[in-house]
């Protein structure tokens, strides 16, 4: 699907991109409450493991912010760090950004995208 997104160039959105965005949107909507709890736990404990289907997502706090990686072999090995969200100075924004990252990372893990 060709989309004109205002960048001055058409962007070809693949089926995989569409599937990812659909799932990301659904996860964000359906699990917002759980993600908020996770965000608070991550900020408190500094490390968080979340099993999703056949994957395990590992989140941790580091100097620059909150990072994550994914394991597809029951935690034997984890990927390299796949994303990082800086921790905003306002707590509300900090939680909102972490919620976004939880939905994003779970969509990635589910689709292996």
């Amino acid at each position: 699907m060709e989309i004109y997104d205002g960048s001055g160039e058409p962007f070809i959105e693949t089926e995989a991109d569409q599937a990812f965005i659909d799932l990301f949107a659904r996860l964000h909507f359906e699990n917002e409450s759980r993600y908020e709890h996770q965000a608070k736990e991550l900020l408190r404990e500094r490390v968080l493991l979340v099993p999703i289907d056949n994957s395990i997502l590992k989140y941790w706090l580091e100097e620059e912010g909150a990072a994550y990686s994914i394991s597809h072999d029951e935690g034997l090995t984890f990927s390299n760090s796949l994303g990082l969200t800086p921790l905003h100075w306002r707590r509300g924004v900090r939680i909102r950004r972490l919620v976004e990252q939880f939905a994003h990372s779970e969509a990635r893990a589910t689709l292996e995208y």
Binding site: E9, E13, S79, G83, E112
Partner: protein
């Protein structure tokens, strides 16, 4: 000057990182030593687009997101590509880091002639006008050796109605 001319013609940034990889590979003695004319000279580059409001996410999620796509492209297979995209906003006090996205090194999707990131998006908090740009860099195994591509910046810093 030559670089500037090239950039003006090209809608996306291709410069330092691709040049670095080209220089590295062309100076690699392996091809010359074997004398095998069938081994292609690797030509690789990183492309990073300008920041934009994602129309696809707007359509699916009904939220505004600033999005930057990037890709690592080679004429020979690249393996275990770790392509990183960082989104920045520009303020009075300089660049402000917004988010980092990275491909999984061991994923099957991180190998091939083209490896891309097309999910690097951050939700807007409000409609305040904010200047955005992206920076991409990568490492990969190309022709059996680890190669590193330095930081490549979007061609333009784009003002978007997307506070973050």
């Amino acid at each position: 000057m030559a670089t500037n001319l090239k950039l003006r013609r090209c809608p996306i940034t291709l410069f330092a990182a691709s040049l670095a990889i080209l220089l590295l590979l062309s100076s690699t003695p392996a091809n010359a030593a074997t004398g095998n004319p069938k081994v292609p000279k690797a030509s690789c580059r990183i492309e990073i687009d300008n920041a934009h409001i994602s129309s696809s996410i707007l359509k699916h999620r009904k939220t505004r997101n600033v999005k930057i796509n990037a890709r690592s492209i080679c004429n020979v297979p690249q393996q275990r590509v770790t392509l990183t995209v960082e989104i920045y906003k520009t303020g009075i006090l300089g660049n402000h880091f917004v988010r980092r996205f990275r491909t999984a090194e061991n994923s099957p999707k991180s190998s091939g002639l083209k490896v891309e990131i097309s999910n690097a998006a951050v939700e807007c908090l409000n409609r305040n006008k904010t200047n955005y740009h992206g920076i991409a860099y990568a490492k990969a195994i190309i022709q059996g050796k680890w190669q590193y591509a330095g930081r490549t910046q979007s061609t333009s810093i784009v003002p978007l109605h997307c506070g973050s």
